[in-house]
């Protein structure tokens, strides 16, 4: 912690910690509130795929990390000192009961099989509670800091479960959003099943996909089968959800009951990540990607698009970003914001760059340029 002196006296300055998961390890990038200079620490767990790491919003020193490998399986690491030291915690993600079957790529049925943890979501409401979204799609919960995990099996056992099918990246539960004041209300998203909501802490679930249109499935009104890539919300308006779908940027004003397309003037509405501004609930960021077969920005120009109106009207943010010969991708968990007064926006690329904006996206600079391919970016605002 550093300190500054101003006319009001001595004030503790906030810090900024960016948690980066990559194909070959994790990195922790630290700065002060100015976010002008950065220290890069890592790789942590070199050689392992770090799908996600995220800190508790209650205890900023507690960070959870998903460490995974095609050779050696799944490990969950936990730090209680802000990433200085780590201990492996529980990695038993056994499905509840007989797992059953889901659709495979070729339309045959295939048994549910655990592969890895895609996303860890430390609870807003309890420092010991953390959720894990896994492949094959299921939601797990730990109430002892990650030592033990129990599946919230009402989701996987939903009557539509046998109809769920994998997207190209696998059948993964990749997004977990908690309601800011109601611990029993959760939203999750699964590729390629869709979005789901529970209001009873995970016992029962409802698909919330009305209004989504997906050309990849024959029935446009299907309850499931939609490839939702990412969801976000602003805590001041928790019934307003934003979605980056395989194609289409969508918004719901009624907690997912219905969705409206807000792609507006985006150059392409394919993409992976979507993020809401820290202080402006109608300011939303996406990174348009050319198409499902061309996972790079249109025209070789890396552009973040910002809407200040909750979608439909989008402006390109380009200052400081490469505007020629850029063919990287930005994955669903690889964009995040900080909570400083001038909201910082961050994203990582498949080319190993982590870009940061200190001014809500008006200008950008690379914090670091040559990391392994970035899988996830999360940001802590330290007070």
């Amino acid at each position: 912690m550093s300190f500054s002196v101003n006319r009001e006296g001595i004030h503790a300055m906030g810090g900024t910690r960016v948690l980066v998961g990559t194909r070959k390890g994790a990195f922790i990038l630290t700065s002060d509130e100015e976010r002008a200079t950065w220290e890069v620490d890592g790789p942590l767990f070199p050689g392992w795929e770090i799908y996600h790491l995220k800190a508790s919003p209650i205890d900023p020193d507690r960070i959870y990390l998903s460490q995974t490998s095609g050779w050696f399986g799944q490990v969950i690491q936990r730090s209680d000192d802000g990433g200085k030291s780590w201990e492996a915690v529980g990695n038993d993600f056994s499905y509840d009961g007989v797992p059953g079957e889901h659709q495979w790529y070729d339309g045959t049925l295939r048994p549910w099989a655990f592969t890895r943890v895609w996303h860890l979501e430390p609870s807003l409401h309890d420092a010991e509670t953390v959720y894990a979204g896994v492949e094959d799609a299921a939601l797990f919960k730990s109430t002892d800091g990650g030592l033990h995990w129990a599946e919230l099996s009402g989701l996987r056992q939903h009557e539509t479960g046998p109809q769920w099918q994998p997207g190209a990246g696998g059948m993964c539960l990749h997004t977990i959003l908690e309601h800011p004041t109601d611990p029993g209300l959760l939203y999750v998203a699964i590729s390629a099943a869709g979005a789901f909501r529970t209001s009873d802490g995970g016992l029962t679930w409802q698909p919330i996909n009305k209004g989504l249109r997906s050309g990849e499935i024959p029935d446009q009104d299907s309850e499931v089968g939609h490839c939702v890539h990412n969801l976000d919300l602003h805590p001041s308006r928790p019934d307003v959800l934003y979605m980056q779908k395989h194609w289409d940027v969508m918004r719901s004003k009624d907690a997912g009951e219905t969705w409206q397309e807000v792609s507006g003037n985006l150059p392409t509405d394919f993409g992976f990540a979507i993020t809401v501004h820290a202080h402006e609930p109608e300011t939303v960021y996406v990174v348009p990607i050319t198409s499902d077969s061309l996972h790079f920005p249109p025209d070789g120009k890396l552009r973040v698009y910002r809407s200040r109106t909750g979608g439909d009207d989008w402006e390109a943010l380009t200052q400081g970003l490469p505007q020629e010969n850029c063919y990287v991708n930005v994955l669903r968990d690889a964009m995040a914001i900080d909570q400083h007064p001038s909201c910082g926006v961050y994203f990582g690329t498949s080319g190993g760059q982590v870009y940061a904006s200190r001014d809500s996206g008006d200008s950008w600079a690379a914090i670091v340029r040559d990391l392994p391919a970035v899988l996830s970016v999360e940001v802590q605002t330290l007070r």
Partner: protein, 101 residues
């Protein structure tokens, strides 16, 4: 009867278990893949699930078991390992399958 078996882990699992070099485990009774791995996982619980599936006990697909210059990966888990392993003269190797290109 108890045997001291030397186990060589791949680098990633040595880092995970926070050990350097070979690991020695005590095995009571017959020395087999199963009893060696049981002993290893008892001493290093962090390795549970990383070498074999925690539910089925099947060897993970990209893990191999070598000893005495032989690939023992497809031997049964309860087949006795070579005498040289049980006597501690030769190690039991856990190997990550070659990959890359």
């Amino acid at each position: 009867m108890s045997y001291t078996v030397r186990v060589v882990l791949p680098a990633h699992l040595r880092a995970l278990a926070k050990v350097h070099g070979d690991v020695s485990v005590e095995v009571a009774g017959v020395v087999t893949q199963r009893t060696v791995l049981d002993a290893l996982e008892t001493d290093f619980p962090v390795l549970v699930g990383t070498i074999r599936d925690r539910t089925t006990a099947q060897r993970r697909a990209f893990v191999r078991f070598f000893a005495c210059a032989e690939d023992l990966s497809h031997e049964g888990p309860d087949t006795p390992l070579p005498e040289q392993v049980a006597s501690g003269h030769e190690p039991f190797l856990v190997v990550g399958a070659m990959a890359g290109g």
